[in-house]
Symmetry: C2
Subunit: 278 residues, 2 copies
């Protein structure tokens, strides 16, 4: 069954006020893939009513980023959500979300300035602002986010806690292609060669786990080996970091439960991935 | 009847989830006076359940401001609220509102940088952040604020609109002493002489209205006359501005509906007042 499509903020807000039961929310920028769908399935499992939003949020893109080319296919998205029996699809317009006199921004300090925040300085301010707005319209009991955008997940958990939202932010595992590439709408930008080279992201994370299993725990050594591997695949490293998964602080020796996160540019496309060391 | 006193954020949030009807909210920093009580009365009139908060929000005070001396009298406050039959008094602690790892701030651009924002650069960031937190805990249908803090009212209206809160922000008229001084917890700091000199704030606003009635509409001329009057009362002008009441932008000629806002330092105490020109 097709989800009910809601394009007006006021209508979504009014519908929400009449809802009963546990509300699940999956915010997306559309061009849905199995990663998004895994979040929807989790929401269907854990909540009574599932609302998915599709909104390509302009304020989280830097001026030199890919806002205008960001892939869109709303008809296909609706079909995919219909298959999963999503209840509501919220499709607000830019003009509604950011009217001309718009002035309010959310800023999470420190943890938005590291990792992806270094090369994308305004990105998380856009993310936290749009998610706050969405949460105030949709008022979800649970919000489902992928672990691929690990920093985003940590930032939004911090924000909802700091601002006393009742919404529980649920992180869901990374979904990968059969060959290991983490699903991303941006994979579409890659040529055949780039697509093959992009496998270096997960390969290097698996290498890190292998080295850890062999008792090599120096972050420096492991990062250096990852760097080599990525270089061989013609990837340009944006960052490779071993981090504390709560604070995102750099740690110098791997331990169980730490994360390795990386961002790599393959043919002008910036891809990210991460792994929990176990 | 004494209001039910709630000191825990989680408890307030849990109580709110079970409430039915229209919820009115009056956020305060305590040391209540007739200005606050007029807000409570308006809330009692317009809503089914009234929640008042008392929290001296540290993040809206600059380092050289009066956080430590800010007057407090919780026992008296409780009595006053009992007389008005307030339903809930929310009294969270600093530690709950701003735990050690706190990182999230709300920023409303432009309109927080003018008027009081110039001499109190971090003030509104603290205000918008604490009010967002309070709104997420209390989830009010209507929130009542005094027009004495006119810029605060405009900033919070902008913020709730921008962030898609359902809460209606209701501005209530300034309450004054018999001699015209606008009520403020900070009036307490004044000596007898200062108290008398402080009358220059309202006097100068009434002078502006009188000049406007006499067809003098140049903001420059009116501000200059106000300056003289304040100087004679040993007041130090922080600002005197003729503004558009929605955008807070400076306007050069008075019109009906414009506001004149001013901040004046009387004996080290910074007092504010404003008037709508009619």
């Amino acid at each position: 069954m097709k989800p009910r499509i809601v394009e007006s903020v006021d209508e979504m807000s009014a519908i929400r006020r009449k809802m009963q039961g546990v509300i699940g929310f999956v915010p997306t920028m559309g061009f849905l893939h199995e990663g998004h769908l895994s979040l929807v399935r989790e929401a269907k499992k854990k909540t009574d009513i599932v609302i998915v939003s599709i909104f390509v949020n302009p304020t989280q893109f830097g001026v030199n980023e890919d806002l205008s080319e960001y892939p869109r296919n709303i008809e296909r998205d609706i079909k995919l959500l219909s298959n999963l029996e999503v209840d509501y699809l919220f499709l607000p317009t830019n003009e509604q979300m950011y009217p001309e006199d718009y002035k309010t921004w959310i800023n999470v300090e420190e943890i938005t300035q590291v990792l992806c925040g270094r090369s994308r300085p305004i990105h998380f301010k856009g993310v936290t602002t749009i998610v706050t707005k969405m949460m105030n319209i949709v008022v979800p009991d649970m919000m489902f986010m992928g672990e691929k955008d690990f920093q985003q997940l940590v930032v939004l958990k911090q924000m909802t806690k700091d601002l006393n939202y009742r919404t529980k932010v649920v992180g869901c595992p990374i979904v990968r292609e059969k060959d290991g590439l983490a699903l991303s709408s941006r994979n579409k930008y890659l040529t055949k060669v780039g697509r093959r080279n992009a496998l270096c992201l997960q390969k290097s994370l698996l290498l890190a786990q292998k080295l850890f299993n062999e008792k090599i725990i120096s972050s420096e050594k492991i990062i250096s080996q990852i760097s080599n591997l990525i270089g061989k695949s013609e990837g340009i490293v944006d960052y490779i970091e071993v981090i504390n998964p709560q604070t995102l602080e750099h740690i110098s020796q791997l331990t169980k439960g730490c994360r390795i996160a990386l961002a790599v540019i393959i043919e002008n496309t910036r891809l990210i991935d991460n792994i929990e060391i176990v």
